[in-house]
């Protein structure tokens, strides 16, 4: 049986690591290479890097930095940010990124998912889906780092992604991101019960129990968290941390995860 993956999700801006809340107010929290080396020692299952400057500035992936990160990381590593064509996908795999995350480009060119899957194998093509919940609890997909509202609903959109050849979906609640008040469990459940590919919960984790809820109630395959693994204590000091193998084993003991 697969072990439930617990994934630190780190935001890049330029060559620095940043963290924000609800996709805004990002502040510098450190050097990504340094963070990778710390997470190596903590035997982290997987790392996820999203470059929030790559799409907005239209400069594409920072290959030099990613090459350094990939060579330092002794765990699988996914990258997203400004990926919009197959040439970039191929280049990212060649420098050692295990999974490529696509988001905004899907809206202009859905066929891109299929083409990218044909190059890399669908298991390595991850689509991140950012979702906002409105006042009456209805969910809508957003693109461009949560800036652009689309007319898509998460469930039908996720199903289309699966049909196009996506291997995994990182499902992020924009409302909950950086708030540490827990995942949007309704959103997670609504999507993961409708698709056959793994769904990764993102946005809102504040404690270990939130992981358990995402697995048991949200029915997701894996969980991602940012702040929880970066900030410590009341003063939010920057200190990368990660639960011990024993803690994770105890946490997921009763979860039946495929």
């Amino acid at each position: 049986m697969l072990k439930t993956r617990v994934i630190p999700s780190l935001l890049l801006k330029g060559r620095g690591l940043v963290k924000g809340q609800q996709f805004k107010n990002h502040r510098y929290v450190g050097d990504p290479i340094n963070a990778v080396q710390i997470f190596n020692k903590k035997l982290v299952d997987e790392l996820l890097f999203l470059d929030i400057s790559a799409t907005s500035q239209e400069c594409g992936p920072n290959y030099e930095l990613l090459k350094d990160i990939a060579s330092e990381a002794f765990m699988p590593f996914a990258y997203g940010g400004g990926v919009e064509n197959c040439k970039q996908v191929e280049k990212l795999f060649n420098i050692g990124v295990e999974k490529v995350i696509i988001n905004s480009a899907v809206f202009n060119n859905p066929q891109f998912i299929t083409d990218a899957s044909n190059i890399a194998g669908s298991q390595s093509i991850v689509i991140s889906v950012d979702v906002k919940r409105n006042m009456i609890g209805s969910h809508t997909v957003y693109s461009n780092n949560g800036l652009k509202k689309t007319n898509r609903k998460p469930v039908e959109y996720a199903k289309q992604l699966e049909d196009l050849g996506a291997g995994e979906i990182v499902l992020c609640s924009i409302n909950n991101e950086g708030t540490a008040k827990g995942y949007d469990l309704e959103l997670l459940y609504e999507v993961s019960r409708e698709v056959g590919i793994p769904v990764v919960a993102s946005g809102g984790a504040g404690c270990l129990n939130d992981f358990k809820d995402a697995i048991n109630i949200g029915k997701v395959s894996a969980v991602a968290a940012g702040n929880m693994f970066i900030f410590q204590g009341k003063l939010n000091a920057v200190l990368p941390s990660y639960p011990s193998p024993k803690e994770l084993q105890d946490l997921f003991r009763e979860s039946n995860n495929g």
């Binding site: 049986m1 697969l2 072990k3 993956r5 190596n40 035997l43 982290v44 299952d45 997987e46 090459k67 990939a70 060579s71 330092e72 990381a73 002794f74 765990m75 699988p76 590593f77 795999f93 060649n94 420098i95 050692g96 990124v97 295990e98 999974k99 044909n118 190059i119 890399a120 194998g121 669908s122 298991q123 390595s124 291997g167 995994e168 056959g196 590919i197 793994p198 395959s221 894996a222 495929g258």
Partner: protein, 215 residues
């Protein structure tokens, strides 16, 4: 003199982390596609991420298949295929139409969820999973039932000769996750991305290489 491990660079993926991990555990590795380096090597690693046909055609284009055949099949050079690099060792794959290297008997097939013990189990098989030892081998030294490895694949090897299977892994059903015949080893998971457990695989492989050189 440190044994030289050549990681074959044929344009199919993450050789940097493999090089780093081998250096991290004290080995001497280089990334190359130069036939001369393969002549000098004490061992060769065939990495690989991606689709079967693309892999075999890039390997073929890189012009190393003949020298590999000579070094591995005739001169019994220790050889480790990783992920797609393991699948390429077999005769054919459902993923494509090209022939594989055919050094090991068997074929590569897609996970068949119709045969899964639990229909909610997902394809691809992506994530950390354990291995069940089928028989003893130096490659498994220091690794127990709790050792886990990182897998990312939708296809697995099948119809493998029983004696070639070193370990199996369960995902819906049991499939061969490590194969070995004489000097040829293949692992379906990514040791270079399996932190402490992957390091142990490389340490063990280096020991196998050392023994083979001084035989």
């Amino acid at each position: 003199m440190e044994e030289l491990i050549v990681i074959l660079d044929y344009g199919m993926g993450n050789t940097g982390s493999m090089l780093n991990m081998i250096s991290y555990v004290g080995g001497n590795a280089m990334i190359s596609k130069d036939p001369e380096d393969i002549y000098l090597a004490d061992a060769v690693i065939l990495p690989g991420v991606g689709a079967f046909d693309n892999g075999i055609s890039k390997l073929s284009t890189s012009g190393v298949i003949e020298i590999l055949r000579k070094r591995v099949l005739q001169q019994k050079l220790p050889f480790l295929g990783v992920c797609l690099g393991m699948q390429l060792l077999f005769e054919k794959s459902e993923e494509g139409t090209e022939r594989g290297l055919g050094w090991l008997k068997g074929e590569v097939v897609r996970f068949s969820n119709g045969e899964f013990s639990n229909p909610s189990i997902k394809i691809p098989h992506m994530g950390w999973n354990t291995i069940n030892h089928e028989r003893d081998n130096a490659l498994l030294c220091g690794l127990d039932d709790n050792s886990r490895f990182y897998f990312v694949h939708s296809y697995h090897v099948s119809c493998v000769e029983g004696s070639d299977i070193l370990a199996t892994t369960a995902h819906g059903y049991s499939f061969p996750s490590i194969v070995q015949r004489e000097n040829i080893i293949g692992v379906q998971f990514h040791p270079e991305k399996s932190h402490s457990f992957g390091m142990q695989i490389f340490r063990n492989f280096m020991e196998i290489v050392r023994c083979s050189k001084h035989e």
